[in-house]
Symmetry: C2
Subunit: 156 residues, 2 copies
DNA sequence: CCTGTCTTTCAAGCTACCTTACTAGCTAGA
DNA sequence: TCTAGCTAGTAAGGTAGCTTGAAAGACAGG
């Protein structure tokens, strides 16, 4: 994208878009750090799986579609998560071609740790901006996401 | 990081951090699209150079440090930008080990196109959120960037 | 002038994707 | 019903974008 490296700590008076990127980068890394710090080693990209996986199990292609990557790439992610003991591949009884990717107990614990970390960070945002400020931020972001789509009539 | 793919358009009621990421992704791609659309082909990562380069020329190592990548990686970026005609390598008269990376006229035009695109997007944000809203958003992001650093006393 | 440090480049390797190609299993139409 | 075509997953190989390691040329201090 447009840089947004992790370090550098000087907020500098940048444009709004850079600031959004820096804020995301700053907080996003803290999610992974939090989960890893809680004793669940993983790579940042693994969160794409954890965020999408259904409690009852999901198919690989389904996860790939939701994460917007190819089934092959998702297959490798799943291989890694299987090695880490977070998921298993089980036969899908309704379709013998397919396998269900299901969370192990350890996997569920990792997801829960992620959820807790995010909750903690959200509370931190509230502490910094105030409850009203945080709510206003979310409202503005929602509005931006809805109305700043490239096809919604903008030209450079 | 934590996913944030470009497509998917459904805002869904996500956590604030995901929303920040999606907003950044949404707008960040529009910067590159705008510049490319203005007739200046480039890749997203090239903006890291354009954003950092000094009008009087910068050294490769200097650019690498600012972009937080290795000099080798920056060297490849510069190779590409040189092929595209946006920069040239000139000998640094004050240190014969070094070379100055300087913008060509085309490079300066590309930087200007980038600046214009960003200005346009900022205006669009203002149109969506209102001048007061946009200002409030920037203030909140500034506050977050200053106070949400990982070392500033937070634990998951 | 010799040693150590800097600037840049070459080489090799890694990661996270991709495309292409395949097998096994499902499904629908003649 | 059987066969043509689609889908789920896997395998092999390629590419982009970085990394570390090592080297050559250039500077600076003792």
């Amino acid at each position: 994208m447009v840089s947004t490296t992790q370090e550098s700590s000087e907020p500098a008076n940048l444009n709004t878009i850079s600031m959004l990127g820096q804020a995301y980068s700053l907080l996003g890394f803290q999610i992974v750090d939090g989960v890893v710090g809680a004793g669940f080693p993983q790579k940042p990209k693994h969160s794409a799986v954890f965020a999408q996986i259904d409690p009852n199990g999901s198919r690989l292609t389904e996860l790939a579609q939701r994460a917007n990557i190819t089934p092959q790439a998702m297959g490798e992610l799943i291989d890694e998560l299987e090695d880490l003991g977070y998921v298993t591949r089980q036969p899908d009884t309704t379709d013998r071609r397919a396998k269900l990717i299901v969370l192990t107990d350890e996997g569920r614990a990792a997801v829960e740790a992620g959820r807790q970390t995010i909750v903690g960070l959200e509370e931190r945002i509230t502490a910094i901006l105030g409850a009203k400020g945080h709510k206003a931020l979310r409202a503005m972001l929602t509005k931006l996401l809805a109305e700043a789509q490239p096809d919604a009539g903008m030209q450079a």
